[in-house]
Amino acid sequence: MTRYTDTQLDALRELANIGSGTASTALSGMLGKSVDISVPNAFVLPMAEAVGSIGDAESEATGVVLGIVGEMPGSVLLLFTPKDAELMCGLLGVEAGSEYGISALMEIGNIVGASYINALGQMIGLELEPTPPAAATDMLGAIVQTVLAERAGAGDVALLLDSDLVVEGEDCSVSFLLVPDQGGVEQMLERLGV
């Protein structure tokens, strides 16, 4: 099983931190509200344990996924609880669950995810391009497992860089996951020189 040192995990966490900082600025611009970021978590887990670390597999969630193409393929997944989806849509003046609601969340995913991916690419000096977003509202487990299967499926472990964007004064947040392809982690660490 692949292991990472504490220094390496710190470096990955820092990467996630800067990426989500840029993403929070983008979200803040969209909503016209301040957005705070949590301290990111870096999990390296056997795949079987990855879903459980994120939440209850059968709970409902809306996921917006963007692929990363280029020199370090992977996926960025934004997860909204039903409550967060509703509040977020409310801030944008559309009804959650409606067609407009879903496209509003996809647009949030698009802007926030793309700025995260661009920041990441600049930091590690790799050409990274986001693909258009896709969304699903379903069981959390089904959403997360599908992204993991596509990205980390062939490897032993999944690396999850997890941070929360919290909208100030609204008790509303988005959880943010970066799932690199197997080999992507090594590439990031090499670029960071740790």
Binding site: A48, V69, M139, G141, A142, A149, A154
Partner: protein, 167 residues
């Protein structure tokens, strides 16, 4: 009654009546149940990807080509008879319909599992696969009931289950 969670890339088998084997929230993954309904032996595998390409490390069951033969072995070791085995498939959805990058892992998973079952001469007696919804599978050992549940839905039987014909 013990619920055994069968998570991504795991598998489990039991001959203990009352045991329940569960895979929660299957998306593109496949929950493959094998049953010997006469003897009340059952197994469940949570298949993640269709093929290992022949170089999976020992003891990994996330690939269909590793998981299917292993699950057959496990239920046979618990007394199931190979010619009596029947299969139930759940999952293999395309969660993100718009995403072109996903290469329809769900469909490829189902096709791979079906091919392998054919090689083992095991019939698929029930399935709830494809589409775009996540699903939970539960296998009730002993009563041979197999159920599926979608997000926001209720648990519905795929295989009704019954008292054992020959105990």
């Amino acid at each position: 009654m013990a619920e055994t969670m069968v998570r991504m890339g795991e598998l489990a088998a039991s001959a203990v009546a009352g045991d329940v084997l569960v895979s929660l929230g299957l998306g593109s993954c496949i929950g493959l149940a094998l049953l010997d309904r006469r003897l009340g032996v059952a197994g469940l595998a949570h298949v993640v990807l269709p093929s290992s390409g022949g170089n999976a490390p020992k003891g990994t069951w996330k690939f269909a080509d590793c998981a299917v033969p292993e699950l057959v072995d496990r239920v046979v070791k618990l007394g199931a008879r190979r010619p009596m085995l029947e299969a139930v498939l759940v999952g293999g959805a395309s969660m993100f319909a718009v995403s072109k990058s996903s290469l329809e892992v769900g469909q490829r998973n189902e096709a791979a599992v079906r091919d392998l079952l054919r090689e083992e001469r095991i019939n698929v007696i029930a399935k709830e696969t494809g589409g775009s919804r996540g699903r939970t599978i539960r296998v009730y050992v002993g009563s041979n009931k197999v159920t599926v549940k979608e997000a926001g839905g209720s648990e519905t039987p795929l295989v009704a289950g019954a008292a054992r014909a020959f105990a």
